[in-house]
Amino acid sequence: MCLAVPLEIKEILDSERALVIQGSAEMEINISLLENPSAGDYVIVHAGFAIETLDIPEAEARLDLFEQMRTE
């Protein structure tokens, strides 16, 4: 039920809708729950809505931490 996947915004269509890339296809999602989405953002999509923007630097930092644990 609360499964949500990160997808990249390809194009903002209007204040409520955007196109995201899903595999080799495109899908329309609702972006009205986000403050300022823009093309190129990765967003977390649940039930056809972007519920949050993915913070790429945070994602990278976490992976770096895991890499560090691996070499410790």
Binding site: C2, P6, N30, G48, I51, E52, A59, R62, L63, M69
Partner: protein
């Protein structure tokens, strides 16, 4: 993206697991960690994390499966609307196979046009406009889903779509955590907190866990490394005797969550005290329409009877939701009760503990 594959890379997971094992060895007792969210229940088992954990680290499934915590009486009311041909029921797929108290589910009416499945609440606007009958949407879900539905119903109100209604059984997480903490003879040592509910409510919402008598709580993502690392953070806290809230999913979850989504949810809905399967009436544990939106409320418009909870004979779903019993403790599990022919809701929902345990092992 690099992290999508890396977070399930065994080479990344091994060192985290080694630290989990080392800490578990120092505990000298069983540690019970409740995964609150049904999506975690499935992800933990699908990825096999549950089977990698040391013997004394027990995962117990919590009340975070919306279908499972919805009382049977709610479904009976929805079924009555269809049976009496008073409305078309629109619902997420998860609710379709839940049997009502007479053993009949909404799926019986699929294909008749009287029950419609939706993937996104946005489908509802067109559906209602094309329907000659009233359309009643089954509003179930936690904070991840509630804002998406609220957004659509605010729009329906704005566009004056007169035949779209909602039957609310929304649930919110914080009051449920409090209810779990208040159960006498505490059996939960820490919470693996839901990732996408937290994206909406933020880590700050969990301050109750940091009060005296609280337990460690760590928000987790859904990749194997995310979940295992969150378990490690919980164990570290237990070892040090702490009860803090930590964010193990900072790429998605912020301290303040998503205020814009919460504002949309709070524009339409207000807290209410309604029954949960297993937990009974939780003060402010649900959300219902504000008085100014009563026009949209199927409960009011169709004058639905007050709902009663009811457990099918032999079904222990209520105890499973509380984490007091495991699905394997049930005499019906995997025998009389299977996903294709479920007796209770914990076997119906793909996120129900019983369905997940049967599919992926306990």
């Amino acid at each position: 993206m690099r992290f999508k594959t890396e977070l399930s890379n065994p080479e990344i997971i091994k060192p985290i697991l080694r630290q989990v094992e080392a800490l578990a060895g120092k505990m000298g007792k069983d540690i019970r960690i409740m995964e609150v969210c049904g999506t975690h229940t499935v992800s933990l088992r699908k990825s096999g994390i549950h089977s990698l954990l040391p013997e004394n680290i027990k995962l117990i499934s919590g009340p975070g499966c919306p279908v499972c915590v919805t009382p049977t009486g709610y479904l009976d009311n929805a079924l009555a609307l269809v049976e009496d041909n008073r409305a078309v029921i629109a619902t997420f797929g998860d609710m379709l196979k839940v049997p009502g108290s007479k053993g009949i589910s909404l799926s019986r009416y699929m294909g008749t046009g009287r029950v419609r499945m939706v993937y996104s609440p946005t489908d509802l606007l067109d559906m209602a406009q094309q329907s000659e009958k009233p359309v009643v949407f089954l509003g179930i879900g936690f904070e991840t889903t509630i804002p998406t539905i609220a957004s659509v119903f605010l729009k329906a109100e704005q566009e004056k779509i007169a035949n779209l209604f909602i039957y609310t059984a929304f649930k919110v997480v914080i009051p449920a955590l409090r209810a779990l903490l208040d159960i006498p003879d505490r059996y939960i040592d820490g919470f693996l907190l839901p990732g996408h509910v937290s994206a909406i409510i933020g880590t700050e919402a969990y301050s109750l866990l940091e009060e005296p008598g609280g337990v460690p709580g760590v928000v987790a993502g859904f990749e194997p490394a995310d979940m295992l690392f969150a378990i490690l953070l919980i164990l570290r806290q237990i070892f040090k005797g702490e009860n803090r809230v930590e964010n193990g999913y900072p790429r998605v979850v912020k301290a303040n969550g998503n205020p814009r989504a919460r504002k949309i949810m709070e524009r339409l809905l207000t807290p209410s005290s309604e029954p949960w399967r297993g937990l009974g009436i939780i003060p402010d544990g649900s959300m219902k329409l504000k008085d100014e939106f009563r026009r949209l409320d199927a409960d009011v418009v169709f004058d639905l009877p007050q709902i009663k909870d009811y457990d099918p004979p032999g079904c222990i779903c209520a105890s499973v939701i509380l984490g007091k019993k495991s699905p394997v403790d049930c005499s019906l599990f995997g025998k009389k009760c299977i996903p294709e022919n479920p007796v209770g809701p914990c076997m119906v929902s793909s996120e129900g503990s019983c369905a997940a345990y049967l599919k992926y092992g306990d």
